[in-house]
Protein backbone atom coordinates (compact mmCIF):
# COMPACT_ATOMS: atom_id res chain seq x y z
CA UNK A 1 0.00 0.00 0.00
CA UNK A 2 1.53 3.27 -1.07
CA UNK A 3 2.24 5.99 1.45
CA UNK A 4 0.17 8.48 -0.50
CA UNK A 5 -2.90 6.26 -0.32
CA UNK A 6 -2.60 5.83 3.43
CA UNK A 7 -2.07 9.57 3.88
CA UNK A 8 -5.11 10.45 1.80
CA UNK A 9 -7.33 7.75 3.32
CA UNK A 10 -9.17 10.08 5.77
CA UNK A 11 -10.00 12.44 2.92
CA UNK A 12 -11.13 9.54 0.73
CA UNK A 13 -13.38 8.31 3.56
CA UNK A 14 -14.82 11.82 3.99
CA UNK A 15 -15.43 12.03 0.25
CA UNK A 16 -17.00 8.57 0.26
CA UNK A 17 -19.37 9.56 3.05
CA UNK A 18 -20.46 12.70 1.18
CA UNK A 19 -21.03 10.73 -2.02
CA UNK A 20 -22.97 8.09 -0.11
CA UNK A 21 -25.27 10.66 1.49
CA UNK A 22 -25.98 12.37 -1.83
CA UNK A 23 -26.47 9.05 -3.62
CA UNK A 24 -28.82 7.84 -0.88
CA UNK A 25 -31.10 10.84 -1.47
CA UNK A 26 -30.74 10.85 -5.24
CA UNK A 27 -31.54 7.12 -5.45
CA UNK A 28 -34.78 7.40 -3.50
CA UNK A 29 -35.82 10.56 -5.36
CA UNK A 30 -36.89 9.07 -8.73
CA UNK A 31 -38.57 6.20 -6.88
CA UNK A 32 -40.60 8.78 -4.94
CA UNK A 33 -41.82 10.48 -8.09
CA UNK A 34 -42.97 7.06 -9.27
CA UNK A 35 -44.50 6.31 -5.86
CA UNK A 36 -46.30 9.65 -5.89
CA UNK A 37 -47.96 8.86 -9.22
CA UNK A 38 -48.73 5.25 -8.41
CA UNK A 39 -49.89 6.23 -4.92
CA UNK A 40 -52.22 8.87 -6.34
CA UNK A 41 -53.55 6.31 -8.79
CA UNK A 42 -53.99 3.71 -6.04
CA UNK A 43 -55.90 6.13 -3.81
CA UNK A 44 -58.04 7.36 -6.73
CA UNK A 45 -58.69 3.79 -7.93
CA UNK A 46 -57.08 4.02 -11.37
CA UNK A 47 -54.11 2.21 -12.93
CA UNK A 48 -51.72 5.18 -12.99
CA UNK A 49 -48.75 5.58 -15.35
CA UNK A 50 -48.27 2.44 -17.44
CA UNK A 51 -47.58 3.48 -21.02
CA UNK A 52 -43.89 4.40 -21.39
CA UNK A 53 -41.60 1.44 -22.04
CA UNK A 54 -38.04 0.42 -22.82
CA UNK A 55 -37.93 -2.41 -25.39
CA UNK A 56 -41.50 -3.24 -24.45
CA UNK A 57 -40.79 -3.51 -20.73
CA UNK A 58 -42.90 -0.99 -18.83
CA UNK A 59 -41.57 -1.78 -15.32
CA UNK A 60 -44.85 -0.85 -13.59
CA UNK A 61 -44.61 2.78 -14.74
CA UNK A 62 -41.03 3.35 -13.59
CA UNK A 63 -40.03 4.21 -17.16
CA UNK A 64 -42.19 7.35 -16.90
CA UNK A 65 -39.73 8.77 -14.40
CA UNK A 66 -36.91 8.16 -16.87
CA UNK A 67 -38.95 9.90 -19.56
CA UNK A 68 -39.48 12.84 -17.21
CA UNK A 69 -35.76 13.25 -16.74
CA UNK A 70 -35.09 13.14 -20.48
CA UNK A 71 -37.96 15.55 -21.12
CA UNK A 72 -36.80 18.07 -18.51
CA UNK A 73 -33.22 17.98 -19.81
CA UNK A 74 -34.24 18.36 -23.46
CA UNK A 75 -36.69 21.22 -22.87
CA UNK A 76 -35.73 24.73 -23.84
CA UNK A 77 -34.34 26.72 -20.94
CA UNK A 78 -36.56 29.80 -21.13
CA UNK A 79 -35.40 32.88 -19.25
CA UNK A 80 -38.33 35.31 -19.21
CA UNK A 81 -37.34 38.88 -20.07
CA UNK A 82 -38.81 40.42 -16.94
CA UNK A 83 -36.96 38.43 -14.26
CA UNK A 84 -34.04 39.58 -12.11
CA UNK A 85 -31.66 37.17 -13.79
CA UNK A 86 -28.93 36.63 -11.21
CA UNK A 87 -31.24 35.98 -8.26
CA UNK A 88 -33.67 34.11 -10.45
CA UNK A 89 -30.93 31.71 -11.57
CA UNK A 90 -29.53 31.30 -8.05
CA UNK A 91 -32.86 30.38 -6.43
CA UNK A 92 -33.25 26.75 -7.65
CA UNK A 93 -29.58 26.05 -6.93
CA UNK A 94 -29.99 27.28 -3.34
CA UNK A 95 -33.15 25.20 -2.89
CA UNK A 96 -31.56 21.97 -4.10
CA UNK A 97 -28.14 22.32 -2.48
CA UNK A 98 -29.64 23.19 0.90
CA UNK A 99 -31.97 20.20 0.66
CA UNK A 100 -29.03 17.89 -0.04
CA UNK A 101 -26.68 19.21 2.64
CA UNK A 102 -29.28 18.82 5.39
CA UNK A 103 -28.66 15.11 5.24
CA UNK A 104 -25.09 15.18 6.53
CA UNK A 105 -25.87 14.81 10.25
CA UNK A 106 -28.17 11.78 9.92
CA UNK A 107 -26.40 8.60 11.13
CA UNK A 108 -26.72 5.38 9.13
CA UNK A 109 -25.31 3.08 11.79
CA UNK A 110 -23.40 3.16 15.07
CA UNK A 111 -19.98 2.71 13.53
CA UNK A 112 -18.15 0.86 10.80
CA UNK A 113 -14.67 -0.31 11.78
CA UNK A 114 -14.32 2.64 14.10
CA UNK A 115 -15.63 5.24 11.66
CA UNK A 116 -18.92 7.04 12.21
CA UNK A 117 -21.51 6.09 9.65
CA UNK A 118 -22.51 9.65 8.86
CA UNK A 119 -21.00 12.47 6.91
CA UNK A 120 -20.02 14.81 9.70
CA UNK A 121 -20.06 14.82 13.46
CA UNK A 122 -21.08 18.43 14.02
CA UNK A 123 -21.56 19.33 17.67
CA UNK A 124 -24.71 21.20 16.68
CA UNK A 125 -26.37 18.00 15.44
CA UNK A 126 -30.03 18.64 14.89
CA UNK A 127 -29.53 22.40 15.25
CA UNK A 128 -27.65 22.15 11.97
CA UNK A 129 -30.72 20.57 10.36
CA UNK A 130 -32.90 23.40 11.66
CA UNK A 131 -30.39 25.99 10.43
CA UNK A 132 -30.19 24.40 7.00
CA UNK A 133 -33.96 24.17 6.58
CA UNK A 134 -34.06 27.84 7.59
CA UNK A 135 -31.69 28.59 4.71
CA UNK A 136 -33.97 26.65 2.37
CA UNK A 137 -36.48 29.49 2.68
CA UNK A 138 -34.16 31.71 0.64
CA UNK A 139 -34.48 29.49 -2.43
CA UNK A 140 -38.26 29.77 -2.47
CA UNK A 141 -38.32 33.44 -1.45
CA UNK A 142 -35.78 34.51 -4.05
CA UNK A 143 -37.58 32.56 -6.74
CA UNK A 144 -40.82 34.33 -5.90
CA UNK A 145 -39.28 37.77 -5.76
CA UNK A 146 -36.91 37.48 -8.74
CA UNK A 147 -39.65 36.17 -11.01
CA UNK A 148 -41.03 39.72 -10.93
CA UNK A 149 -44.58 38.51 -11.12
CA UNK A 150 -47.46 39.03 -8.70
CA UNK A 151 -48.39 35.38 -8.35
CA UNK A 152 -44.83 34.22 -7.87
CA UNK A 153 -44.25 36.93 -5.27
CA UNK A 154 -47.38 35.85 -3.42
CA UNK A 155 -46.08 32.27 -3.45
CA UNK A 156 -42.69 33.34 -2.16
CA UNK A 157 -44.22 35.45 0.61
CA UNK A 158 -46.52 32.65 1.67
CA UNK A 159 -43.65 30.17 1.71
CA UNK A 160 -41.42 32.34 3.86
CA UNK A 161 -44.18 33.27 6.32
CA UNK A 162 -45.21 29.65 6.63
CA UNK A 163 -41.72 28.25 7.06
CA UNK A 164 -40.76 30.84 9.68
CA UNK A 165 -43.97 30.13 11.61
CA UNK A 166 -43.68 26.36 11.67
CA UNK A 167 -39.94 26.34 12.34
CA UNK A 168 -40.76 27.40 15.93
CA UNK A 169 -42.99 24.40 16.66
CA UNK A 170 -40.49 22.16 14.91
CA UNK A 171 -37.58 23.39 17.02
CA UNK A 172 -39.56 23.19 20.26
CA UNK A 173 -40.70 19.62 19.62
CA UNK A 174 -37.10 18.69 18.87
CA UNK A 175 -36.18 20.20 22.27
CA UNK A 176 -38.29 17.46 23.88
CA UNK A 177 -36.07 14.83 22.25
CA UNK A 178 -32.97 16.74 23.37
CA UNK A 179 -34.27 16.65 26.93
CA UNK A 180 -34.96 12.91 26.81
CA UNK A 181 -31.64 12.07 25.15
CA UNK A 182 -29.56 14.70 26.93
CA UNK A 183 -27.87 15.57 23.65
CA UNK A 184 -28.49 17.34 20.35
CA UNK A 185 -26.31 14.93 18.37
CA UNK A 186 -28.41 12.66 16.18
CA UNK A 187 -25.92 9.83 16.77
CA UNK A 188 -26.42 9.99 20.53
CA UNK A 189 -30.19 10.25 20.08
CA UNK A 190 -30.18 7.13 17.89
CA UNK A 191 -27.87 5.25 20.29
CA UNK A 192 -30.22 6.02 23.18
CA UNK A 193 -33.05 4.31 21.28
CA UNK A 194 -31.11 1.09 20.62
CA UNK A 195 -32.61 -2.25 21.56
CA UNK A 196 -36.30 -2.93 22.02
CA UNK A 197 -38.85 -0.67 20.37
CA UNK A 198 -40.19 0.86 23.59
CA UNK A 199 -36.90 2.71 23.92
CA UNK A 200 -38.02 4.80 20.96
CA UNK A 201 -38.83 8.38 21.84
CA UNK A 202 -42.26 8.16 20.25
CA UNK A 203 -43.36 5.65 22.91
CA UNK A 204 -43.31 8.22 25.69
CA UNK A 205 -46.31 10.55 26.12
CA UNK A 206 -44.25 13.72 25.65
CA UNK A 207 -42.35 12.12 22.80
CA UNK A 208 -45.57 11.22 21.06
CA UNK A 209 -46.95 14.77 21.25
CA UNK A 210 -43.58 16.07 20.07
CA UNK A 211 -43.65 13.62 17.16
CA UNK A 212 -47.11 14.73 16.02
CA UNK A 213 -46.06 18.40 16.19
CA UNK A 214 -42.72 17.75 14.49
CA UNK A 215 -44.28 15.73 11.70
CA UNK A 216 -46.98 18.35 11.08
CA UNK A 217 -44.35 21.08 11.00
CA UNK A 218 -42.31 18.94 8.61
CA UNK A 219 -45.24 18.98 6.18
CA UNK A 220 -45.31 22.77 6.37
CA UNK A 221 -41.53 23.03 5.97
CA UNK A 222 -41.51 20.86 2.85
CA UNK A 223 -44.49 22.74 1.36
CA UNK A 224 -46.47 19.55 0.97
CA UNK A 225 -50.26 19.30 1.00
CA UNK A 226 -52.17 20.36 3.13
CA UNK A 227 -49.59 23.15 3.50
CA UNK A 228 -48.78 23.66 -0.19
CA UNK A 229 -50.20 27.18 -0.37
CA UNK A 230 -46.95 28.60 -1.83
CA UNK A 231 -47.73 26.75 -5.06
CA UNK A 232 -51.51 26.59 -4.76
CA UNK A 233 -52.23 26.07 -8.43
CA UNK A 234 -55.88 27.10 -8.22
CA UNK A 235 -54.96 30.58 -6.97
CA UNK A 236 -51.33 31.27 -7.90
CA UNK A 237 -50.82 29.49 -11.26
CA UNK A 238 -47.71 27.65 -10.03
CA UNK A 239 -46.67 29.88 -7.15
CA UNK A 240 -42.98 30.60 -6.80
CA UNK A 241 -41.92 28.32 -9.67
CA UNK A 242 -44.33 29.69 -12.28
CA UNK A 243 -41.58 31.27 -14.36
CA UNK A 244 -39.24 28.29 -14.29
CA UNK A 245 -38.94 25.64 -16.97
CA UNK A 246 -36.61 22.83 -17.95
CA UNK A 247 -33.88 21.85 -15.48
CA UNK A 248 -34.44 24.87 -13.26
CA UNK A 249 -37.97 23.66 -12.61
CA UNK A 250 -36.59 20.15 -12.14
CA UNK A 251 -34.30 21.46 -9.38
CA UNK A 252 -37.30 22.84 -7.45
CA UNK A 253 -39.19 19.63 -8.05
CA UNK A 254 -36.24 17.53 -6.84
CA UNK A 255 -35.67 19.82 -3.86
CA UNK A 256 -39.21 19.18 -2.66
CA UNK A 257 -38.70 15.43 -2.77
CA UNK A 258 -35.21 15.68 -1.26
CA UNK A 259 -36.75 17.69 1.58
CA UNK A 260 -39.33 14.95 2.09
CA UNK A 261 -36.57 12.34 2.32
CA UNK A 262 -34.57 14.44 4.77
CA UNK A 263 -37.64 15.19 6.90
CA UNK A 264 -38.50 11.49 7.03
CA UNK A 265 -34.92 10.55 7.90
CA UNK A 266 -34.71 13.13 10.68
CA UNK A 267 -38.11 12.12 12.08
CA UNK A 268 -37.13 8.46 11.94
CA UNK A 269 -33.91 9.21 13.80
CA UNK A 270 -35.50 11.46 16.42
CA UNK A 271 -38.58 9.43 17.21
CA UNK A 272 -38.32 5.95 15.65
CA UNK A 273 -34.85 4.78 16.55
CA UNK A 274 -33.13 5.74 13.27
CA UNK A 275 -30.97 2.84 12.11
CA UNK A 276 -32.06 0.65 15.06
CA UNK A 277 -34.17 -2.38 14.30
CA UNK A 278 -36.39 -1.97 17.36
CA UNK A 279 -35.73 -5.62 18.29
CA UNK A 280 -32.04 -6.01 19.01
CA UNK A 281 -29.08 -3.73 19.65
CA UNK A 282 -26.32 -3.21 17.07
CA UNK A 283 -23.97 -4.99 19.50
CA UNK A 284 -26.20 -8.08 19.36
CA UNK A 285 -26.21 -7.89 15.54
CA UNK A 286 -22.40 -7.80 15.60
CA UNK A 287 -22.19 -10.84 17.80
CA UNK A 288 -24.72 -12.84 15.78
CA UNK A 289 -23.78 -11.61 12.29
CA UNK A 290 -23.90 -15.16 10.89
CA UNK A 291 -27.42 -15.67 12.19
CA UNK A 292 -28.48 -12.40 10.55
CA UNK A 293 -27.20 -13.73 7.24
CA UNK A 294 -29.11 -16.99 7.76
CA UNK A 295 -32.24 -14.97 8.58
CA UNK A 296 -31.86 -13.16 5.24
CA UNK A 297 -32.66 -16.49 3.62
CA UNK A 298 -36.07 -16.24 5.26
CA UNK A 299 -37.02 -13.86 2.45
CA UNK A 300 -36.59 -16.64 -0.11
CA UNK A 301 -40.17 -18.07 0.14
CA UNK A 302 -41.65 -14.56 -0.10
CA UNK A 303 -39.57 -13.79 -3.19
CA UNK A 304 -40.52 -17.14 -4.73
CA UNK A 305 -44.18 -16.30 -4.10
CA UNK A 306 -43.67 -12.94 -5.81
CA UNK A 307 -42.11 -14.76 -8.78
CA UNK A 308 -45.08 -17.13 -8.92
CA UNK A 309 -47.54 -14.20 -8.80
CA UNK A 310 -45.61 -12.45 -11.59
CA UNK A 311 -45.81 -15.64 -13.62
CA UNK A 312 -49.61 -15.70 -13.17
CA UNK A 313 -49.85 -12.26 -14.81
CA UNK A 314 -49.58 -14.07 -18.13
CA UNK A 315 -53.15 -15.28 -17.64
CA UNK A 316 -54.55 -11.76 -17.43
CA UNK A 317 -56.92 -10.75 -20.25
CA UNK A 318 -54.58 -7.89 -21.14
CA UNK A 319 -51.70 -10.19 -22.02
CA UNK A 320 -54.02 -12.75 -23.63
CA UNK A 321 -55.32 -10.10 -26.03
CA UNK A 322 -51.85 -9.01 -27.19
CA UNK A 323 -50.82 -10.13 -30.67
CA UNK A 324 -48.03 -12.68 -30.94
CA UNK A 325 -44.61 -11.07 -31.06
CA UNK A 326 -45.66 -8.04 -28.97
CA UNK A 327 -42.74 -7.05 -26.77
CA UNK A 328 -45.01 -6.64 -23.73
CA UNK A 329 -45.55 -10.41 -23.69
CA UNK A 330 -42.03 -10.69 -22.26
CA UNK A 331 -42.93 -8.53 -19.26
CA UNK A 332 -44.15 -11.26 -16.86
CA UNK A 333 -41.04 -13.31 -17.50
CA UNK A 334 -38.79 -10.32 -16.79
CA UNK A 335 -40.49 -9.86 -13.43
CA UNK A 336 -40.17 -13.59 -12.72
CA UNK A 337 -36.47 -13.31 -13.54
CA UNK A 338 -35.99 -10.36 -11.18
CA UNK A 339 -37.74 -12.05 -8.25
CA UNK A 340 -35.96 -15.37 -8.87
CA UNK A 341 -32.62 -13.57 -9.04
CA UNK A 342 -33.36 -11.85 -5.73
CA UNK A 343 -34.35 -15.21 -4.23
CA UNK A 344 -31.10 -16.83 -5.38
CA UNK A 345 -29.12 -13.91 -3.94
CA UNK A 346 -30.85 -14.24 -0.58
CA UNK A 347 -30.27 -18.00 -0.63
CA UNK A 348 -26.57 -17.31 -1.28
CA UNK A 349 -26.42 -14.94 1.68
CA UNK A 350 -28.10 -17.55 3.87
CA UNK A 351 -25.65 -20.24 2.78
CA UNK A 352 -22.76 -17.87 3.53
CA UNK A 353 -24.21 -17.40 7.00
CA UNK A 354 -24.49 -21.17 7.53
CA UNK A 355 -20.90 -21.63 6.38
CA UNK A 356 -19.89 -18.92 8.81
CA UNK A 357 -21.72 -20.69 11.63
CA UNK A 358 -20.00 -23.95 10.70
CA UNK A 359 -16.47 -22.65 10.30
CA UNK A 360 -16.42 -19.10 11.69
CA UNK A 361 -14.49 -18.14 8.57
CA UNK A 362 -16.85 -16.98 5.85
CA UNK A 363 -17.01 -13.40 7.11
CA UNK A 364 -13.31 -12.95 6.52
CA UNK A 365 -13.94 -10.79 3.44
CA UNK A 366 -11.13 -8.53 4.49
CA UNK A 367 -8.31 -10.87 3.52
CA UNK A 368 -9.35 -10.58 -0.12
CA UNK A 369 -6.88 -8.71 -2.30
CA UNK A 370 -5.99 -5.10 -1.73
CA UNK A 371 -8.47 -4.57 1.10
CA UNK A 372 -6.18 -6.33 3.56
CA UNK A 373 -3.48 -3.75 2.84
CA UNK A 374 -5.90 -0.96 3.76
CA UNK A 375 -6.75 -2.61 7.06
CA UNK A 376 -3.11 -3.30 7.85
CA UNK A 377 -2.39 0.38 7.29
CA UNK A 378 -5.14 1.15 9.80
CA UNK A 379 -3.25 -0.98 12.33
CA UNK A 380 -5.33 -4.15 12.22
CA UNK A 381 -3.73 -7.54 12.29
CA UNK A 382 -4.85 -10.27 9.89
CA UNK A 383 -6.72 -12.05 12.69
CA UNK A 384 -8.87 -9.13 13.77
CA UNK A 385 -9.67 -8.00 10.22
CA UNK A 386 -12.18 -10.75 9.57
CA UNK A 387 -13.79 -10.58 12.99
CA UNK A 388 -14.26 -6.82 12.76
CA UNK A 389 -14.96 -6.20 9.10
CA UNK A 390 -17.55 -8.93 8.47
CA UNK A 391 -19.87 -8.30 11.44
CA UNK A 392 -19.45 -4.55 11.02
CA UNK A 393 -20.45 -4.82 7.38
CA UNK A 394 -23.53 -6.88 8.28
CA UNK A 395 -24.51 -4.41 11.01
CA UNK A 396 -23.99 -1.45 8.69
CA UNK A 397 -26.09 -3.01 5.92
CA UNK A 398 -28.87 -3.86 8.39
CA UNK A 399 -28.75 -0.29 9.77
CA UNK A 400 -28.87 1.35 6.34
CA UNK A 401 -31.70 -0.96 5.25
CA UNK A 402 -33.74 -0.28 8.40
CA UNK A 403 -33.27 3.47 8.03
CA UNK A 404 -34.19 3.28 4.33
CA UNK A 405 -37.38 1.36 5.17
CA UNK A 406 -38.36 3.97 7.76
CA UNK A 407 -37.56 6.80 5.34
CA UNK A 408 -39.62 5.18 2.59
CA UNK A 409 -42.56 4.73 4.94
CA UNK A 410 -42.29 8.39 5.94
CA UNK A 411 -42.26 9.42 2.29
CA UNK A 412 -45.25 7.21 1.60
CA UNK A 413 -47.01 8.95 4.48
CA UNK A 414 -46.35 12.31 2.77
CA UNK A 415 -47.92 10.98 -0.43
CA UNK A 416 -50.78 9.37 1.44
CA UNK A 417 -51.69 12.67 3.16
CA UNK A 418 -51.33 14.61 -0.08
CA UNK A 419 -54.11 12.61 -1.70
CA UNK A 420 -56.28 12.51 1.44
CA UNK A 421 -56.36 15.95 3.07
CA UNK A 422 -57.37 19.09 1.15
CA UNK A 423 -55.39 22.31 1.26
CA UNK A 424 -55.75 24.76 4.17
CA UNK A 425 -56.96 28.31 3.80
CA UNK A 426 -54.22 30.78 4.62
CA UNK A 427 -55.72 32.11 7.86
CA UNK A 428 -56.35 28.54 9.03
CA UNK A 429 -52.71 27.73 8.41
CA UNK A 430 -51.46 30.66 10.48
CA UNK A 431 -54.06 29.90 13.15
CA UNK A 432 -52.85 26.31 13.44
CA UNK A 433 -49.20 27.28 13.52
CA UNK A 434 -49.30 30.15 16.00
CA UNK A 435 -52.36 29.63 18.17
CA UNK A 436 -52.51 25.85 18.47
CA UNK A 437 -49.19 24.18 17.73
CA UNK A 438 -46.88 26.73 19.34
CA UNK A 439 -48.61 26.83 22.78
CA UNK A 440 -48.90 23.04 22.70
CA UNK A 441 -45.20 22.73 21.86
CA UNK A 442 -44.18 25.10 24.68
CA UNK A 443 -46.39 23.25 27.18
CA UNK A 444 -44.97 19.97 25.95
CA UNK A 445 -41.39 21.13 26.60
CA UNK A 446 -42.32 21.91 30.23
CA UNK A 447 -44.06 18.56 30.54
CA UNK A 448 -41.01 16.84 29.09
CA UNK A 449 -38.75 18.40 31.71
CA UNK A 450 -40.97 16.94 34.44
CA UNK A 451 -41.16 13.60 32.63
CA UNK A 452 -37.39 13.30 32.30
CA UNK A 453 -36.99 14.11 35.99
CA UNK A 454 -39.52 11.40 37.00
CA UNK A 455 -38.59 8.65 34.53
CA UNK A 456 -34.95 9.17 33.53
CA UNK A 457 -34.87 5.94 31.50
CA UNK A 458 -38.39 6.07 30.10
CA UNK A 459 -41.62 4.61 31.52
CA UNK A 460 -41.72 1.25 29.73
CA UNK A 461 -37.99 0.74 30.09
CA UNK A 462 -38.37 1.38 33.84
CA UNK A 463 -40.74 -1.57 34.10
CA UNK A 464 -39.56 -3.92 31.35
CA UNK A 465 -35.85 -3.13 31.11
CA UNK A 466 -34.15 -1.53 28.17
CA UNK A 467 -32.49 -4.47 26.41
Amino acid sequence: MSELFVASLPYLIALGRCIFAVVFVMQILPMLIWAERKGAAYIQDRPGPNRAHVLGIRAAGLVHTLNDVVKLIMKEDIIPGHVEKRYWAAAPVIAMSVALCTFIVVPFGDNFMGYDLKVSDIDGGLLFVLAATGMGVYGVMLAGWASNNKFSLMGGLRASAQMVSYELSMGLSAVVVFLIAGSVSLSTIAEMQAGVAWNWTVFTPVGFIAFVLFWTAAFAETNRTPFDLPEGEAELVGGYHTEYSSLRFALFFMAEYANMIVASAVTATLFFGGYNTGIVTPAWLREHADWVLVAAAGAVPVLLWFAFEAHKRKQRPFYQALPAGDARLKEPMVFVGIWLGAAVAHLGIGVAGLMGLASKLSLDFATFGMMSGVFESLGMSAETQGTVFGPDLVTAIVGITVLAVKVLFGCWFFIWVRWTVPRFRYDQLMDLGWKRMLPLAIGNVMLAAVWVAVFPTGLLSTFFGSK
Binding site: Y87, I122, D123, G124, L127, F128, L130, A131, G134, M135, V137, Y138, M141, L142, G144, W145, L153, G156, L157, S160, A161, M163, V164, E167, V184
Partner: protein, 167 residues
Protein backbone atom coordinates in the same frame (compact mmCIF):
# COMPACT_ATOMS: atom_id res chain seq x y z
CA UNK B 1 -1.25 26.92 7.83
CA UNK B 2 -4.33 25.49 6.12
CA UNK B 3 -6.52 27.08 8.79
CA UNK B 4 -4.84 30.44 8.27
CA UNK B 5 -5.53 30.30 4.53
CA UNK B 6 -9.18 29.45 5.23
CA UNK B 7 -9.42 32.20 7.84
CA UNK B 8 -8.17 34.90 5.47
CA UNK B 9 -10.37 33.58 2.67
CA UNK B 10 -13.53 33.53 4.80
CA UNK B 11 -12.77 36.88 6.39
CA UNK B 12 -12.13 38.46 2.99
CA UNK B 13 -15.51 37.27 1.70
CA UNK B 14 -17.19 38.43 4.93
CA UNK B 15 -15.65 41.90 4.65
CA UNK B 16 -16.40 42.23 0.94
CA UNK B 17 -20.03 41.23 1.44
CA UNK B 18 -20.23 43.48 4.50
CA UNK B 19 -19.12 46.42 2.36
CA UNK B 20 -21.66 45.26 -0.21
CA UNK B 21 -24.46 45.69 2.33
CA UNK B 22 -23.94 49.46 2.42
CA UNK B 23 -22.90 50.02 -1.20
CA UNK B 24 -25.50 47.97 -3.09
CA UNK B 25 -28.44 49.98 -4.31
CA UNK B 26 -30.95 47.16 -4.56
CA UNK B 27 -32.37 46.51 -1.04
CA UNK B 28 -32.74 42.76 -1.65
CA UNK B 29 -29.13 42.58 -2.83
CA UNK B 30 -28.08 44.41 0.33
CA UNK B 31 -29.97 42.01 2.54
CA UNK B 32 -28.58 38.99 0.71
CA UNK B 33 -25.01 40.18 1.00
CA UNK B 34 -25.63 40.54 4.73
CA UNK B 35 -26.71 36.88 4.71
CA UNK B 36 -23.47 35.95 2.92
CA UNK B 37 -21.54 38.01 5.49
CA UNK B 38 -23.22 36.10 8.36
CA UNK B 39 -22.45 32.84 6.63
CA UNK B 40 -18.75 33.47 6.38
CA UNK B 41 -18.64 34.85 9.91
CA UNK B 42 -20.09 31.50 10.95
CA UNK B 43 -17.30 29.81 9.00
CA UNK B 44 -14.78 31.87 11.01
CA UNK B 45 -16.49 30.72 14.22
CA UNK B 46 -16.04 27.10 13.11
CA UNK B 47 -12.31 27.79 12.65
CA UNK B 48 -12.29 29.07 16.24
CA UNK B 49 -13.78 25.75 17.42
CA UNK B 50 -17.04 27.54 18.29
CA UNK B 51 -19.30 25.13 16.40
CA UNK B 52 -22.36 25.91 18.49
CA UNK B 53 -22.03 29.65 18.01
CA UNK B 54 -21.58 29.08 14.28
CA UNK B 55 -24.75 26.99 14.00
CA UNK B 56 -26.71 29.49 16.10
CA UNK B 57 -25.36 32.33 13.96
CA UNK B 58 -26.84 30.70 10.87
CA UNK B 59 -30.01 29.50 12.61
CA UNK B 60 -30.92 32.80 14.26
CA UNK B 61 -29.35 35.54 12.15
CA UNK B 62 -29.23 34.13 8.63
CA UNK B 63 -32.21 31.79 9.05
CA UNK B 64 -34.71 33.82 11.07
CA UNK B 65 -33.86 37.52 11.33
CA UNK B 66 -32.69 37.99 7.75
CA UNK B 67 -35.63 36.00 6.43
CA UNK B 68 -37.85 38.51 8.22
CA UNK B 69 -35.86 41.41 6.71
CA UNK B 70 -36.11 40.01 3.19
CA UNK B 71 -39.78 39.24 3.82
CA UNK B 72 -40.50 42.85 4.72
CA UNK B 73 -38.53 44.18 1.75
CA UNK B 74 -40.46 41.86 -0.55
CA UNK B 75 -43.75 42.83 1.07
CA UNK B 76 -43.01 46.53 0.49
CA UNK B 77 -41.96 45.40 -2.98
CA UNK B 78 -39.12 47.87 -3.49
CA UNK B 79 -38.11 47.75 -7.14
CA UNK B 80 -35.80 49.48 -9.60
CA UNK B 81 -37.68 52.77 -9.43
CA UNK B 82 -37.42 53.28 -5.71
CA UNK B 83 -33.83 52.49 -4.87
CA UNK B 84 -32.42 53.88 -1.68
CA UNK B 85 -31.40 57.46 -2.20
CA UNK B 86 -27.85 58.62 -1.59
CA UNK B 87 -28.59 62.33 -1.15
CA UNK B 88 -26.80 64.36 1.49
CA UNK B 89 -23.99 61.83 1.28
CA UNK B 90 -21.23 64.13 2.54
CA UNK B 91 -22.65 64.86 6.00
CA UNK B 92 -23.84 61.29 6.52
CA UNK B 93 -20.47 59.77 5.64
CA UNK B 94 -18.70 62.10 8.07
CA UNK B 95 -21.08 61.08 10.89
CA UNK B 96 -20.79 57.39 9.92
CA UNK B 97 -17.01 57.42 9.76
CA UNK B 98 -16.82 59.27 13.07
CA UNK B 99 -18.96 56.62 14.76
CA UNK B 100 -17.00 53.81 13.14
CA UNK B 101 -13.75 55.43 14.27
CA UNK B 102 -14.95 55.66 17.87
CA UNK B 103 -16.00 52.01 17.75
CA UNK B 104 -12.63 51.01 16.31
CA UNK B 105 -10.77 52.89 19.06
CA UNK B 106 -12.92 51.16 21.69
CA UNK B 107 -12.33 47.75 20.13
CA UNK B 108 -8.57 48.13 19.83
CA UNK B 109 -8.29 49.41 23.39
CA UNK B 110 -10.25 46.41 24.62
CA UNK B 111 -8.14 44.04 22.51
CA UNK B 112 -4.96 45.54 23.92
CA UNK B 113 -6.08 44.79 27.47
CA UNK B 114 -6.92 41.13 26.80
CA UNK B 115 -4.92 38.69 28.92
CA UNK B 116 -2.80 36.36 26.85
CA UNK B 117 -4.45 32.93 26.60
CA UNK B 118 -2.18 29.99 26.01
CA UNK B 119 -3.55 27.21 23.79
CA UNK B 120 -2.99 24.73 26.61
CA UNK B 121 -5.35 26.67 28.87
CA UNK B 122 -8.30 25.99 26.54
CA UNK B 123 -10.28 22.99 27.81
CA UNK B 124 -10.96 20.04 25.51
CA UNK B 125 -14.70 20.62 25.33
CA UNK B 126 -14.26 24.32 24.50
CA UNK B 127 -17.02 25.57 22.20
CA UNK B 128 -19.33 22.60 22.68
CA UNK B 129 -22.94 23.06 23.72
CA UNK B 130 -22.24 21.57 27.15
CA UNK B 131 -19.39 24.02 27.76
CA UNK B 132 -21.43 27.06 26.70
CA UNK B 133 -24.41 25.85 28.70
CA UNK B 134 -22.30 25.54 31.85
CA UNK B 135 -20.75 28.96 31.26
CA UNK B 136 -24.17 30.55 30.84
CA UNK B 137 -26.12 28.81 33.59
CA UNK B 138 -23.50 27.85 36.19
CA UNK B 139 -20.55 30.01 35.39
CA UNK B 140 -19.75 33.71 35.52
CA UNK B 141 -22.26 34.74 32.84
CA UNK B 142 -25.47 33.79 34.66
CA UNK B 143 -26.42 37.35 35.64
CA UNK B 144 -25.69 38.97 32.23
CA UNK B 145 -27.54 36.11 30.54
CA UNK B 146 -30.65 36.56 32.68
CA UNK B 147 -30.45 40.34 32.25
CA UNK B 148 -30.39 39.90 28.46
CA UNK B 149 -33.38 37.57 28.57
CA UNK B 150 -35.29 40.12 30.69
CA UNK B 151 -34.36 42.75 28.09
CA UNK B 152 -35.74 40.53 25.32
CA UNK B 153 -38.97 40.02 27.25
CA UNK B 154 -39.29 43.79 27.61
CA UNK B 155 -38.76 44.14 23.85
CA UNK B 156 -41.47 41.55 23.10
CA UNK B 157 -43.94 43.24 25.46
CA UNK B 158 -43.10 46.59 23.91
CA UNK B 159 -43.68 45.25 20.40
CA UNK B 160 -47.08 43.88 21.42
CA UNK B 161 -48.06 47.17 23.07
CA UNK B 162 -47.03 49.13 19.97
CA UNK B 163 -48.68 46.77 17.49
CA UNK B 164 -52.01 46.29 19.28
CA UNK B 165 -54.25 49.32 19.45
CA UNK B 166 -56.49 47.81 22.11
CA UNK B 167 -55.20 45.41 24.69
Amino acid sequence: MFEAVLFYLFSLVAIVSGVGVVTMRNPIASALSLVVCFFFLAADYVLLDAHFVAVIQILVYAGAIMVLFVFVIMLLNLRHGDHLSFEDIGRRSVVGMGTAGLLAIGLFTALGQLPEILPAAIPADYGTIAYIGRALFEGPYLLPFEAVSALLTVAVVGAVVLAKKEI
